[in-house]
C-alpha cells in the first residue's frame, strides 16, 4: 500500500499553483478541467510519484454556507498541513522566504531534527524537516505516550 495523492484544500487554485511551483519549486503533474472541477496536482522536486491535489471545495459537494465555513478554517490556519522532508533545511528555508513565503517558525532544533514552518498562500501550514540527530530530549508526552 502507498499514498500516491493527498488532497489539500485551498482558497484559490491558481494562486495555489503559483505558490507551489514558484515558491516551493513543485512541478504541476496533472491539470485537467473536468467541468465542475479542476483536477490540479503538484509534485515536490525529485518525487514525481507523490502528488498533492490542490482542491477547491464548493457546490455541488457542499452547500455555499459550508464552503464558506471551510474557507474560514483554511484561512484561520487549521484547514490542512503538509510535511516536507528536505536535505538542507536552512538553505531551503532561506530560499522560500526570499520568494515571499510567510514564516510561522524560524529554523529550530527539535528532538527529531531541524524544522521550520511556513504558510502557503491559503494559510495551510507547511512544516519542513531535515532529519538529523540533535541530541535534544523529547517532551515527556512523546517519551511516555
Amino acid at each position: 500500500m502507498k499514498i500516491p495523492i493527498i488532497a489539500l484544500r485551498v482558497l484559490d487554485q491558481q494562486r495555489a499553483l503559483d505558490f507551489y511551483t514558484q515558491v516551493l519549486g513543485f512541478t504541476v503533474t496533472e491539470d485537467m478541467d473536468l467541468g465542475a472541477m479542476r483536477w490540479l496536482t503538484v509534485s515536490p522536486p525529485g518525487a514525481p510519484d507523490q502528488h498533492v491535489l490542490l482542491e477547491r471545495v464548493g457546490p455541488p459537494i457542499v452547500d455555499p454556507e459550508t464552503a464558506e465555513t471551510i474557507d474560514t478554517l483554511i484561512a484561520k490556519g487549521v484547514g490542512g498541513s503538509l510535511f516536507l522532508e528536505v536535505d538542507d533545511l536552512h538553505a531551503t528555508f532561506d530560499e522560500v522566504v526570499a520568494k515571499g513565503a510567510e514564516v510561522v517558525q524560524e529554523p529550530m532544533e527539535r528532538f527529531y531534527g531541524i524544522d521550520a514552518a511556513i504558510r502557503d498562500d491559503s494559510g495551510n501550514q507547511i512544516r519542513m524537516t531535515q532529519r538529523v540527530e540533535t541530541g535534544i530530549q523529547a517532551p515527556p508526552s512523546a517519551v511516555n505516550g
Binding site: K76, A98, V103, V104, Q105, P107, M108, E109, A117, Q137
Partner: protein
Amino acid sequence: MNAREAAFLRRAKDLVDRSYAEPLDVIALARRAHVSPYHFSRRFKEAFGETPHQYVLTRRVERAQELLRNTDLSVTEICLEVGFQSLGSFSTAFHKVAGMTPTAYRATYTGHAPHIPGCWAAQWTRPLGSARMEKRAATPHD
C-alpha cells in the same frame, strides 16, 4: 467570521509564533490583523481560544520549557531569551501554564536529560533578530 478576517487574525497569531521573543503589544498585533485594538482581543479569542496577550505568554512559556529541559541556561537567561522583561512576570506566567515554578519544572527532568550546552542551543532555538527581519523586508529582490 469570514475567510478574510480569519486570514488577518491568523497572520497576527503567526507573528506571535515567529517573533515571540520580541516586545509584542496588543496594539501592534491589532495593526497586523487590520482590526481596531478594541475588537482585536475579542475576535482573536473567538478564533483561537485565548486572548492575544495570553497567547504571547503561552508561546513564551512553551519555548522556556524546552530550554529548561534541554539546556543548562539559567532561569534568568531563559526568562530573557524567550522575551520576558522580568523574572516576576516570567514566574507568574510559567506557573499559570505549567502549574509549577521553572526551577521545579527543570528538576523534574534532571537525571534523564542529555543536557546540551546552553550557548549552543541558544544559537539554534532563538528566532532571527529584528535586524535580519528588516534586512529581509528591505531586500525583496533577492
